[in-house]
């Protein structure tokens, strides 16, 4: 395993270098032109406007967020191609070690990029006049490492459930929205006063969670009224319990995904590489679920109401079956989900009228 680990590390040097250069050029270098990081007072029409020159944490978050989708593809592509399956699965290494090594190398690659760019960002901020409490800036590292770990781990598991690279990418994108939409669906039946929006953890990816938490902890660098720097440590200590539960849930889910990925490896049917992706974690379940939920939640012009889910239904069924000549049996489940979604939509609207009356 040690030899394969070293080989895999050598293999990621090129992609790592490319990612590093891209981030350096697009995120860090433009920041060198920034003059300072503090309030800018602009007198205009006898009024004063305030603006804050933020460091590009959001861009780092977007960059790392994108990589947590790219790196699983690079690390697990070998199991989606029959020729690569022959090469890797005939090699004298156990399946668990093979997957564990690929997972670990990808994670290390992402962790290295996270730490490097966090430190570069901090260095850039320190090098300019600023009013931040720099000590707290270092919190970005554990926050980002957490998000990278969670998203990368879940994406590795989800991508690995597909039989082709393209299906794997689609599966990962599905999961970006599925929890959020499911949450909205469940709470759409409840009165508005109980519905406080989905928690951070269910929003799109844990990176949104990180972004919001980070803004809350660190980004308001000075008191908005006095303009004095304020300590944010108390904000960390007063972190809401609900958010901590979210974070723990995500962590547990990610750990379960890693265990699922590695422990299930000997049972995997690698001969399915390149075939239709029939996993229970893929189209088979997500397609009808998404059709049902989107149909049930949409409240728009009736024409659009019909057009959007039906268009989605047709496209995704064709993608799933990889043919325009989809067998009539394969339409039954998506069309039933659509019908159920319409039923749910009526039910939801009926309940809403009850609340109003």
């Amino acid at each position: 395993m040690k030899k394969y680990f070293i080989y895999s590390l050598q293999k990621v040097i090129w992609p790592f270098s490319i990612m590093f250069v891209v981030a350096l050029i697009t995120i860090i270098l433009p920041e060198l032109a920034t003059e300072n990081y503090y309030f800018v007072y602009t007198a205009y029409d006898e009024s004063i406007s305030y603006s804050i020159n933020f460091p590009p944490i959001d861009r780092i978050i977007v960059f790392l967020g994108a990589l947590t989708f790219v790196v699983p593809v690079l690390q697990f592509e070998f199991s989606k191609n029959r020729r690569l399956v022959d090469q890797y699965y005939s090699a004298p290494i156990s399946r668990r070690k093979l997957l564990a090594t690929n997972y670990l190398v990808g994670l290390l690659e992402l962790f290295a990029l996270t730490i490097i760019f966090s430190l570069l960002l901090i260095a850039v901020v320190i090098s300019k006049p600023n009013v931040y409490d720099i000590g707290h800036f270092f919190l970005i590292i554990p926050f980002l490492l957490f998000s990278v770990f969670v998203t990368y781990s879940l994406n590795c598991f989800i991508f690995h459930q597909a039989n082709t690279l393209y299906d794997g990418v689609i599966f990962m994108l599905f999961y970006v929205f599925i929890l959020l939409i499911a949450y909205q669906t469940v709470f759409s039946l409840m009165p508005m006063e109980y519905f406080d929006g989905p928690p951070y953890g269910m929003s799109i990816t844990p990176f949104v969670y990180t972004q919001m938490a980070f803004m809350e902890f660190i980004m308001p660098p000075v008191d908005a009224i006095t303009g004095e720097p304020i300590s944010n440590l108390h904000r960390v200590l007063e972190y809401e319990w609900g958010d901590i539960v979210d974070a723990i849930s995500l962590f547990v889910l990610a750990v379960a995904a890693v265990f699922g990925l590695i422990l299930y490896a000997p049972k995997e049917k690698v001969e399915r590489a390149g075939q239709i992706s029939n996993s229970w974690f893929g189209y088979k379940v997500i397609n009808p679920a998404l059709i049902f939920m989107t149909t049930g939640l949409l409240d728009m012009d009736p024409f659009i109401q019909i057009l959007i889910p039906i268009t989605y239904l047709i496209i995704i069924t064709i993608i799933y079956r990889r043919t325009f000549k989809v067998h009539w049996r394969d339409w039954i489940i998506p069309l039933s989900s659509y019908a159920l979604g319409i039923g749910f939509n009526f039910l939801r609207n009926f309940i809403e009228t009850l609340y109003i009356s």
């Binding site: 070293i6 005939s90 690698v270």
Partner: protein, 293 residues
């Protein structure tokens, strides 16, 4: 020794191998033949531990190959279409094989020289034969105890086939390797194989020592005084029979002397023994089982 016991494999509802049993002795060159889609490649993938059968096992000296690195370190599987990217060069592949096998770089470079290949050129620019030669060189350099080759002679010119056969024989004799080759080039297999197996109808239809089998199969052209019917040969263990009036072409199994003696008892005008090749034997075997008719 390789033992395949009650092996079954299916792709969804399609049964590819059903309760297949086979034994391959060490240090033999084994030819695996079968019509297209018979399951040769699937069997080789099961034998190299890539796939797992729904039932049965593939054992190397008593140890199951599936997900067993200790067994797999002695096996090299060369598929019909090995992986490389558009810019992979020969020398790039060395590091991969060095990771997993005891790689003999000197032997590899010698072979590359013999095959006249350029290690710095992208494999994508090689002809089909050159690609195969490169991967054969890689395979030989890992000094495998068990070498599994899928469609080994596919795309090779006559000279390259000859060179490959020489290297396989050398690998078998010098390093005591067991070589399993699936191929449609039965003439090439006949030249180098000690043993063979014919896959048909999801099972091994026929297997054994090639020489022994060939010595036990005889082809005759017989002329009679009067037109004859197939019933005349009902008592014979025949693989093939073609009757055109007085002339009979027949392929029979059994001891040559005994078979000839029994044929003479039918009082033909003339009995001509014709040489039979492995390719013909294969065709008669699969014809006998209902194909090509």
């Amino acid at each position: 020794m390789i033992e395949i016991k009650n092996l079954s494999k299916s792709y969804g509802p399609k049964l590819v191998l059903n309760n297949l049993n086979l034994r391959i002795e060490d240090q033999t060159i084994f030819g695996l033949v079968g019509i297209n889609g018979a399951g040769k490649s699937t069997l080789l993938r099961l034998m190299s531990g890539i796939y797992q059968g729904e039932q049965g096992k593939v054992l190397y000296n008593g140890q199951d190959v599936y997900d067993n690195p200790n067994v797999k370190k002695d096996i090299f599987f060369l598929p019909d279409d090995p992986f490389y990217t558009f810019n992979t060069r020969g020398k790039d592949l060395i590091s991969y094989y060095q990771t997993f096998y005891e790689f003999d770089e000197i032997a590899f470079k010698e072979l590359v020289k013999v095959f006249n290949l350029q290690l710095n050129t992208p494999i994508n620019n090689f002809s089909k034969g050159m690609k195969r030669q490169l991967f054969i060189a890689l395979a030989v350099a890992t000094r495998p105890k068990y070498l599994l080759l899928d469609e080994a002679f596919d795309g090779l010119d006559p000279l390259a086939r000859l060179t490959l056969k020489r290297h396989l024989i050398a690998l078998s004799s010098d390093y005591h390797s067991t070589i399993i080759i699936s191929s449609h080039s039965l003439r090439e297999l006949e030249d180098i194989c000690d043993a063979y197996g014919i896959i048909d109808h999801q099972e091994i239809a026929s297997s054994g020592q090639l020489e022994e089998t060939m010595n036990n199969v005889h082809k005759y052209q017989i002329a009679f005084k009067e037109p004859v019917e197939a019933a005349l040969f009902a008592e014979f263990d025949k693989l093939f029979i073609h009757i055109e009036g007085r002339i009979v072409q027949i392929v029979l199994r059994g001891n040559e002397k005994e078979v000839t003696k029994r044929l003479e008892k039918l009082k033909p005008l003339l009995i001509d023994k014709i040489a039979i090749s492995f390719e013909e034997l294969f065709i008669y075997e699969v014809e006998n089982r209902g194909y090509l008719k």
